[in-house]
Every structure is written in C-alpha cells, then in structure tokens.
C-alpha cells in the first residue's frame, strides 16, 4: 500500500507542486521508502521520484520549482522497488494495490504497475478519459487505487469495488479539487472535505467537467482494518469513520476484556496513545505518558531488517521514570509483529522499576501477511502465527499478554467483519487470483 494524492486546479495561475509536497508529507506515514511527484501544465509532464522520505527526496527547493503546472499527483510507497509515479511523457500513473488477473491473464507481483500504466495509456488514445478508465478497470481482478494525470489535461481517479484502500475528495472552493487516501491531507493544505470516492468509482476531473461513473461488482465493502488500528493518521476520517474515535474505543474494548488491578495505563507512542486513553476512560485507572522518543518517527512494522528494528526501538523510546517506578503497569501497543520491539520495551520498563507489566495489543492477533501489500511481514516472521499468548508472555517477559478480540475490533470500527478486510487477522481475503 501507499500514500497517494492529486490536485487539480481549475485555473492555470496556481503552481501545485508545493501543495503536492505538503500533501505527501501528510501521507509520509503510509510509506517511507520512495516518494514522487508528477505535475503538468498541458505542455509537458514533469516527474521526479526517488528513494527516501519526502523531505529528503525534495530537499532541494529547485527540484520543486522544476515541477511546473496547475495539476498533478504524488505517491509515497512502502515498497522501494516500485518507481512511482510511472510516467511515459503523455500519462503519469500513481498506482497502489495488487492486480491478480488482467483480462483473464494472471499477473505477477511488480508487473502490475507497469501493466496498468500501459493499459491506461493505450485506452486513453482510443477513447475519452472516463471511457479509458472504465475499460481498464473492468478488466482488473484485484484491488487498486489509481490517480493519473495526462498531458492533455485530465486527472483520472479510480477505486476498486471493495474499497480496500481509502480515497476521498476535497475542494479549495473555486480553486482546486484534491484527492487523497486520507482526509488529513485536506486539512494540511487548507481544503474542505467533500466526499469519499465510492467503491467501484471512476472519476475524471478536467477544466470542463467532473465526471463520475460507478460500476460496482456485487460485493460488500472490504475496508482495510489495518487502516483503523494502525496505518491511518489519527486526525483522518476514513470511510466516514473517525480514526481517533475508533482507537479510543479500541482502548475501551481492551479494558472490557480485562479485570486487572493496575496503577497506571501507558500507551506506546504514537499510535497506541489513544488506546491508553480509552482504557483509562473505561477503567478509571489513570493514563500517563510513559516514553519520550528520540529521532524521527519511523513506523517500526515497516522497517526492513531485524537489526535496524532493534536499534530503531532502543534509540526511539526512553521510559519516563516516575510513572513506572514501583507501579503495576498496563502497557498498550498497536501490534506485535515479531515480538522484538515489545520485548525491548518491557525490558526497559522493568529496568526503571515497574512491578508488573501487563501487555495489551490494540489489534487482533496478526496471523497472516497482507497479500495486497508489504504492510505486514510474511508468515514465518509473525510471532503470533507461531506462538500462543502464554508463550508470547514468556518471550517478551510480561506478566500477562493479550490481544484485542476480532469482535472488539468490529465494535470499535463500527463495521462487521463482512464489511472489512481483516486478512492479516484471519487469513481470509476478500479477493485473490481468479478461481482461488
């Protein structure tokens, strides 16, 4: 998965590159491996993308100035192999997702970006923009989120029928339209939220029109549940649901599963802080801040190697002494992928004199990889897929350990399992290869 955004200005006096830059910064947490921006002024397409974080890739002010024009798109990605936006001088495509079959043919991973880009280019020559998107998306068996810009002045937007990845639309009145995975992007650049891009929607924005065409397969939504527990920003509204409220409720749900006579609730920054607040709200046990972080925030589940992760964690989190010394602590984090992070955190809490450490995880047990992205590691690297809760308690050296139940997650999000993709928690995926 990735972070994607697009801006289309209705008058050519705007330079959108800096708006796209800040939009991408607002999506940085969705992928720190590559970043890229494409713009156009109907004369040329200007693209720049590189490995690295947004502010590194666009460190040079001059780089942004070369991205001329009043419309464009951008992408940050988890996957360092993907080169996005994919561009050929006429059309530039930001693609995120996984195409299993195209027009009945099986597609290999990493071939899909190029394939979809080529198909869009081909169809765009043959028909109008909306026809092009309709023809291409009809042949896709898979999940996708697409934002493309063409030299001739169209912006193409598409979201699959399951709506796995979120996509919403905003407006800076009379000035421009904005599309992004997260509504927080709109706040960051000063636009107003207008609507979600629907599941199965193809949409075109150009000077003359905003065209929308919805053709949905007969299926339920399969909104990514990882967005809610972990991936999306706290200040975003995703598919009409407030991420902050959802995470606070997750804390409440965790508390309802417990009956522990603890002294303090501590959430591991940043993602688990609202879990801690919800837990405290439900039980009356005071919530405290327990850690101060050193260095920039890099999402640890997304970091590539084991050693890097270990160093990352130790560098990152330093416990504050007074809230833990001599206390029975409820420690809440967002996920346990390989157990290493958690073992370190528990260890440092004990060093600072915590009497008991009860570890709670604000997501259900992760048992399976994400077949649509690199968001979750493959199965052999998942501790939960291998060990029981009791065994994990031993490994991380906690007094007790438990996950949020799937039902608790459903209640927190406010959607039942059949409307979510909970593949990483259940191993059941809404869509995969034809016939599988």
């Amino acid at each position: 998965m990735a972070g994607q955004c697009g801006i289309f200005s209705f008058s050519d006096d705007w330079e959108v590159a800096r708006f796209l830059y800040y939009s991408l910064l607002s999506l940085q947490h969705r992928g720190a491996e590559t970043a890229g921006i494409v713009t156009s002024d109907e004369e040329s397409i200007y693209v720049y993308s590189k490995k690295g974080r947004v502010d590194d890739v666009f460190r040079d002010e001059e780089q942004i100035k070369t991205l001329k024009g009043w419309y464009g798109a951008g992408q940050v990605d988890l996957d360092h192999k993907s080169k996005l936006p994919f561009s050929n001088g006429e059309i530039s495509v930001c693609f995120s997702g996984r195409v299993f079959d195209y027009d009945g043919e099986k597609i290999d991973k990493y071939d899909d970006v190029q394939l979809i880009s080529e198909e869009i280019t081909k169809e765009y020559k043959k028909c109008d923009a909306i026809g092009c998107l309709n023809n291409v998306t009809e042949k896709i068996n898979g999940i996708y989120s697409i934002i493309a810009v063409t030299k001739s002045g169209d912006m193409l937007i598409a979201r699959d029928s399951y709506g796995v990845q979120p996509l919403c639309l905003g407006s800076l009145k009379f000035n421009f339209g904005v599309v992004s995975n997260e509504s927080a992007t709109l706040d960051v650049i000063g636009a107003d939220f207008t609507t979600d891009i629907e599941r199965g929607e193809n949409r075109i924005i150009n000077r003359y029109t905003v065209d929308k065409y919805v053709k949905r397969e007969n299926c339920n939504s399969a909104f990514c549940s990882f967005e809610y527990v972990y991936y999306a920003r706290l200040d975003s509204i995703i598919n009409g649901i407030s991420i902050y409220e959802c995470r606070r409720k997750i804390g409440c749900e965790l508390a309802k599963q417990d009956d522990i006579d603890a002294d303090v609730v501590i959430g591991v920054p940043e993602t688990a802080l609202p879990f801690g607040m919800g837990y405290s709200e439900e039980t009356g046990i005071p919530a405290h801040l327990g850690f101060v972080r050193t260095g920039i925030h890099v999402r640890s589940a997304i970091k590539p190697t084991q050693t890097e992760r270990l160093i990352g964690v130790q560098l990152k989190l330093n416990p504050i002494r007074t809230p833990v010394r001599g206390k029975k602590v409820i420690l809440i984090d967002d996920s346990v992928v390989r157990g290493t992070t958690m073992r370190n955190i528990v260890y440092t809490l004990r060093l600072r004199g915590a009497r008991e450490v009860h570890v709670r995880i604000g997501s259900p047990r992760i048992v399976s990889p994400c077949i649509y992205s690199d968001l979750v590691p493959v199965k052999d690297e998942l501790i939960a897929a291998d060990l029981t809760d009791e065994e994990i308690t031993e490994v991380i050296n906690a007094d007790s350990f438990s996950y949020l139940s799937l039902e608790g997650l459903e209640r927190s999000i406010g959607l039942s399992r059949d409307k979510l993709c909970a593949g990483c928690f259940t191993g059941e995926y809404p869509i995969s290869w034809n016939g599988e």
Binding site: F10, S11, D13, W14, E15, R18, F19, Y22, L169, S171, L172, K173, F174, N175, G177, V188, I189, G190, D192, T194, T195, I205, R207, Y208, T209, V210, K212
Partner: protein, 490 residues
C-alpha cells in the same frame, strides 16, 4: 392588461409564466437579446410577442415599450437596471417593477454596498478595502492580507471572485502569488469593460459557513420575504470547479432545513435596514425585488455576502412557481405602494431547481455556444418536472445554445430529497443534437449534501450564539508588533 417583461433567461421564463397564469390573463411582451423558446410560447399564447433587442439599451427599450404601451413593465436581470432602463421607462410614464439605476447600486457596486452597511451600522457587514491600482492592492496583500476574498468591485455576472484561505504558513508563497496575479487580472482585464463605478476591486475578510438567499418584494415601504433558497456556485459535483452564476438551488417551505426561524428574521432585518439606507442615500423609493445573498458565519450569524437588486437566477425559479398569490396582483401592489394590503403566500413544499449547461460553461463559453438542443417534454411531464429555458436562442425554428446555462429544471415535492430525485430522473430529457455534452450537478439537494450544509450551519451557530451572549458579535481584535492591540471597528 398588457405587461412588458425584460430579459431572456430562466428567471424571466418563470416570471412570464407566473404572469401568464394570472386570473387577469394579461397580454405579455418580452424584450431579450435571445429569443427564449419558453418565453416565446407563453407570450404568443397570451396574444403578445417577443422582440429581439438589446435589453440594456434604455432608448431602444423605451421605443419598443411605447409601441406596445403596457400597463407596466418588469425588469428581470440586473444589467438593464444598471443601465437605467427602469428610469427611462418611468420617465416615459410606464410603471415599472425593478430597482432604478440609483437603487440598483446596492448590487452594481459591492464597494458602495459595503460602505453603506458601515455608514448605517447594519449588522452582518464584512470588513473590506477597495483598490483602484494594482500596486496598492499588491502592497496591501503583502503587508496584511491573510485569508481573503478578492472580488471585482462591480457585479459582473457571477465571475471573478477568488476565495483564498491562507492559514498554512508553509503555503503562503504560492497563495500570495495567486492573490497578486488575480488582483492584477481583476484590475487590468476583468474590470476593463466597466467604467460605471470608480472602485476596481475589493479585498474582503474571508468568512465561512453555509449560504442562503433571501429574496424579497419591496414597494418603498414594506419588505416582504419569499421562501429561503440555497444556491450552489461551484460548477461541478462535490463543490468542485470554478465559480458559476449558480448550478442549482433548493428550498424547503419558508426556510431551509438547517436555518432557524430567528436567523431568517435576522436576515430580513438586515435587508429591511439596507432598503431604508438605500432610500435615504438615493432619495428614491425602492420598488421591485431585493435579495440578500447571506452566509451563516461564526462572526455575525447571518452575514451579508452580496445583494441582488432582482430575483436570483436560479433562486427566483424556486419561489415564483410556488407563489399562491397572483403575481400580477403583487406587481400592482409594488407599483401602487400597497404591499402591506395584500397577503403573499407560498405553497408548503420543498423545491429543487437544477441548471443544465453545455460543456465549456462557465470558463470556455465559445465551446458551450452554438449547439442544437432538444428537450423531451414527455419525460418531464411524467415526473411533473418543469423546464425553464435559459441561454437558448430560437433561430429559424431551431433551438441553439448560448454560452450559459441552457435549462433549469424545477420540481416541487414534500421533501428536498424527493424533489432532487425527480429532477435527476429528468436530466436525460435535455440533449444536444450534435453530440456535444451537457453537465449538471447531481449532488444538489442530495441527503449527503444537506448533511454537509447542516454541519456547517451548526458549527457557525454554536460559535456565533456564544459570541452574541458574550457581546463579541462582529468584533475582531488583533495585536500587531510595534503597534499594539487594535480592534477592527465595525
């Protein structure tokens, strides 16, 4: 009885229709720059006719009027008012419904209007600066302007307004560049054709909130409201796209679902005070229609964005068809200054009006122009939806699009959502015969959109009510280094 109508858009089509259904059965005439097919049909049926001429030319209009010798005239659009057509008609002894050139300054010059509101301390006024030179405007933008609205000082057909909220320090440079470019564009290009006012552009404080229009009849003594209407200015669905003259409106009985009775009353008070002020300034009676385009803001509650010295288009098309009182009677009451003697009533219904325009509107009108258009009346009849023709010209019997909105579809139902659905079903009734495309906004009147508007209204209401309670309404205090605390005085 003979009545002369001026103007050829959808609004005038509905004015002519309201006259045509009068018990008095008047003979109706029309002067327009295009031959509007709807107006043509109604006028001819009544025994009158349509004359193609320049409705903004007082001489020509009077000449035609004298040959007809109507009992009275009604002016639909604002430009004939600005050009003194009502004055010329009155001079020729023809009673006229429509603000005179002086009274219509309330719409023509947004600078005049704002100064008037300050002079008479009318609530709901926005702070502004007016400029005539690019250099001064840019100097101001660089020194002070943050979140602002740049607009032409003169009414110019619903174009040229830029709303630029500027709260993000990191995007200031880009926003400033556009502010400067737009100020330059407005002064050097946009305002070039207009020499009838001195100010060139306004820079206004930017407010936010839900918008609505309150249209009223005025006879120089009484100001009588019609149902509240909400227009939608951005061209495309989801409030995207450039500014237009209005893509569609809804109304619900005498108010809107998200505006309170008190807010309607407060808005009416603002309009009444403004009419009094206009009459004091001009020493003329305001006889015609006046409308306040309002916004419910946290700063004031009901806040004045601009005035119309006529019915809005499309807003007029929401209210005229549901007026129960005979429109001829209303016009006569305006002329004889007896509005207080009649009761003006409306049906208890929700209405939705949707504009349909050829692709190219609003910014590329040459593209939108010159396409043959047809309308499937059977489909409209099936859903009880009525067409009001706009920018369509009857040329040798064929209907050809002008550059603006071609048709407005009107539906009335018990709820806005139902009326919306009815108009949506009838959108396919309009077709361009040469394959060029039409567009409209499907979201106007939808449940989702109404919720968004209600949310905006609630947000503003919570704050302005608090401010009112604490005597803070309309106040804005700032601190500027080396200058200290300043209060922007209203």
């Amino acid at each position: 009885m003979k009545i002369l109508t001026i103007g050829n858009g959808s609004r005038e089509h509905s004015i002519v229709e309201s006259l045509a259904i009068s018990n008095i059965e008047p003979v109706i005439f029309n002067i327009g720059s295009l031959i509007n097919p709807g107006i043509l049909e109604l006028c001819e049926k009544s025994g009158g006719k349509v004359v193609r001429s320049d409705p903004n030319d007082p001489k020509k209009v009077v000449e035609i009027a004298e040959s007809i010798s109507p009992d009275f005239a009604i002016i639909g659009p604002e430009e004939p008012q600005f050009h003194g057509v009502p004055d010329a008609l009155l001079d020729a002894g023809i009673a006229t419904v429509g603000a005179t050139a002086n009274c219509s300054m309330i719409e023509r010059s947004k600078a005049w209007m704002r100064r008037l509101m300050f002079k008479y301390k009318i609530v709901g006024r926005l702070r502004f600066k007016s400029f005539t030179s690019v250099e001064e405007a840019i100097a101001y933008i660089n020194a002070y302007a943050e979140s602002i609205v740049l607009k032409p000082a003169r009414q110019s057909g619903g174009k040229g307004v830029r709303v630029i909220s500027d709260l993000q320090e990191y995007l200031k440079k880009e926003k400033r560049a556009v502010k400067e470019k737009h100020a330059k564009y407005l002064i050097e290009k946009h305002m070039k054709p207009y020499s009838d006012i001195d100010d060139k552009i306004l820079i206004e404080e930017k407010v936010s909130g839900t918008e609505y229009t309150l249209q009223c009849f005025s006879d120089g003594h009484s100001v009588i409201p019609t149902p509240l209407v909400q227009d939608n200015k951005p061209a495309f669905d989801g409030d995207l796209g450039p500014e237009t003259g209005g893509m569609g409106c809804c109304s619900y009985r005498d108010t809107l679902p998200f505006i309170t009775k008190e807010e309607v009353d407060d808005s009416l008070k603002i309009i009444k005070q403004s009419v009094d002020a206009i009459q004091k300034e001009t020493d003329e009676k305001y006889k015609g229609i006046i409308a306040g385009q309002m916004m419910l803001t946290s700063l004031w509650g009901p806040t004045l964005i601009e005035f119309y010295s006529r019915f809005g288009d499309p807003e007029g098309v929401n209210v005229l068809p549901i007026m129960k009182t005979d429109f001829v009677e209303v016009c006569e009451a305006i002329i004889s200054e007896k509005l207080n003697k009649i009761k003006i009533e409306f049906e208890d219904q929700a209405t939705v009006v949707k504009a349909i325009a050829p692709r190219g509107y609003p910014d590329y009108r040459d593209l939108a122009k010159g396409h043959p258009i047809s309308v499937d009346l059977k489909l409209l009849e099936k859903y009880g939806v009525r067409p009001y023709y706009g920018s369509i010209d009857v040329v040798n019997g064929s209907w050809i699009t002008g550059g603006s909105r071609s048709i407005e579809l009107f539906a009335k139902r018990d709820t806005i959502e139902e009326a919306n659905e009815a108009t949506e079903r009838c959108i396919p009734a309009a077709k361009l015969l040469d394959g060029h495309q039409l567009f409209h906004r499907s979201d106007i009147g939808s449940k989702e959109r109404l919720l968004v508007e209600a949310d905006k209204a609630n947000l503003a209401r919570e704050i302005y009510l608090y401010r009112k309670e604490h005597n803070l309404i309309g106040r804005k205090v700032d601190w500027i280094p080396l200058r200290g605390k300043i209060e922007y005085k209203g």
